[in-house]
């Protein structure tokens, strides 16, 4: 369906990434947000607090991130599209509820504007060190979707997309910014509402009595029903059967948890997004994401001037990870160079995928600033030599 024009700020704007996320949420039809403001994500909730009431939405500032991350899940079960916004220390607190959202198949959006960690770390400075936390942070087996914008425009586009993916797969979706992307200001074009595709909630067309709230359709994703409309609807973090009732035994666990993983992995080809440039015939390919992809671009230009055949691969979806495509690339290149603002996270996933078919060269930076393009260039030249 098309976006509700009430929430769509059509036009060309000069916005930072944080504000663009807020507009993406509004365009997606999000009308409930809860948060505990934290640098460098505060601007997202500031704009939400100003804008939501104008379109019939609600923003609640709560006492902490535990409250915020569970309030949004309640918001979803109450029928709203909902999100919360945070940075590292808050993201750590939200882990339990991300697992709860995964287990209860709650379509909810989390925005994490990454700063230096661990702990309170570098409140005002960039890092990309929550990537593995997004993937593995909550206990147990589950899958979620994580997206990595590298510009304010993409902050708008991918926040909207995050809501669509959350609804399509009934899964928590995390939008992983970094401080630089969150605070950089660029042109953001917001199209008219009738050009924006918005995924509606998967409301069941089955009547009460016939509907099983956790029985999947062919795509492994179950439909939803609305509380208060006559359905029996039980939501629990315990292992549950297709009726939603606790059934704590091995066969139910196998069926349920396997499906939570499979609904993402088997639909990965439909979920995955990446950007690829000049990889054909390249001897080196840079694999990067977020702000680092833009820094890497300068290194790529420098390497080209030196005559090196270098391509670039930008992760837009970090999770699920594009295993198939990275594996293909590993068969045709000498090396994959992976710069990131952490001491080895997505580079590990690349290395695991490549399985020794080519060299993986991580270019690691602990955060607090971006790479010097020369540092990435050096890694490229090392292979070219």
């Amino acid at each position: 369906m098309k976006a509700d024009p009430k929430g769509v700020l059509t036009g060309s704007h000069y916005l930072d990434g944080d504000h663009a996320c807020s507009e993406g949420a509004l365009a997606a039809g999000c009308r409930f947000a809860a948060g505990y403001p934290i640098t460098p994500s505060t601007e997202v909730v500031e704009r939400i607090a100003a804008r939501f009431p104008l379109v019939g939405g609600t923003f609640i500032q709560l006492e902490d991130e535990l409250a915020a991350s569970i309030a949004v899940i309640g918001g979803v079960w109450g029928g709203a599209k909902a999100l919360t916004v945070t940075s590292g220390p808050g993201f750590s607190l939200m882990m339990e509820h991300i697992g709860f959202a995964a287990m209860t198949e709650t379509p909810v959006v989390y925005i994490d504007v990454q700063r230096g960690g661990p702990s309170t770390g570098l409140p005002t400075l960039a890092a990309q060190a929550d990537m593995m936390q997004a993937r593995w942070g909550s206990h147990g087996d589950y899958r979620l979707i994580a997206l990595c914008p590298n510009s304010p425009q993409e902050c708008f586009d991918l926040t909207l997309e995050a809501f669509n993916l959350a609804e399509q797969y009934r899964v928590p979706v995390v939008v992983m910014l970094d401080e630089v992307v969150g605070h950089m200001t660029e042109k953001v074009v917001i199209p008219p509402a009738e050009q924006l595709e918005v995924t509606p909630r998967r409301w069941t067309d089955k009547p009460p009595g016939e509907f099983l709230p956790f029985a999947p359709r062919e795509d492994l994703v179950p439909d939803l029903c609305m509380f208060g409309e006559g359905y029996r609807f039980h939501v629990t973090g315990l292992t549950h059967d297709e009726r939603g009732y606790p059934a704590m035994n091995a066969p139910t666990q196998e069926r349920l948890v396997r499906r939570l993983v499979d609904k993402i992995e088997k639909n990965a080809d439909k979920i995955l997004r990446w950007e690829e440039k000049d990889t054909e015939g390249a001897e080196v390919v840079i694999v990067s994401y977020g702000i680092t992809s833009r820094v890497a671009q300068r290194a790529v230009e420098m390497a080209r001037e030196k005559g090196v055949k270098v391509g670039s691969f930008r992760l837009i979806t970090a999770w699920p990870f594009p295993h198939k495509r990275i594996a293909e690339l590993s068969r045709s290149v000498k090396s994959l160079v992976v710069p990131e603002l952490n001491l080895g996270q997505m580079s590990l996933e690349v290395e695991r995928t490549v399985a020794g078919r080519c060299r993986t060269i991580p270019v690691l930076h602990a955060g607090g600033a971006v790479h010097r393009p020369e540092a990435i260039l050096e890694a490229i030249m090392e292979v070219a030599r």
Partner: protein, 184 residues
Amino acid sequence: MALNEIKIGGLGGQGVILAGIIIGKAAALYDDKHSTLTQAFGPEARGSACSAQVVIDDQAIAYPYVTRPSYMVTMSQDAFAKFSPELREDGVLIIDEDLVKPTGLPPGVKVFGIPATRYAEEIGRKQVLNIIMVGFFTAVTGLVSEQGTRKAVAESVPGNTVELNLRAFERGFAYGKELRAQRS
């Protein structure tokens, strides 16, 4: 037009960031160019040296940071001292000549000064200093269009101060135009 790097420095509270937003917005929204604004983001207090960095290009901008600015605007002596070593040796330095006394610049740097604080006081509000500098910058550098920047000013300041700020813009622009005519 190739890539142009601009750095604007001053004291927290002078409207340094807003000046950067207006220049960046004029380029990106009204001049059909690309621009990226980044700002020093930290626990800076009002009164300390702060900066806005704008990159303007005809093509999409990858690397967002200013490394060797060819244009620099400084609105305080502290900001001049802190940032001027970054300016290119053939760069353009734009100053409020009442607030900044430049020293030790490479000979190739072109300096354009305006008594912006005095003009702001004449207009009736010291706070419009930054907009006078934006007008002056527009005339002196030609990097952003007069029409586009005027629009960006009107859009970026509080509604009840638009007229005042446009007067400030005109004052800076007129002074810059004249100065440029004299120099050429």
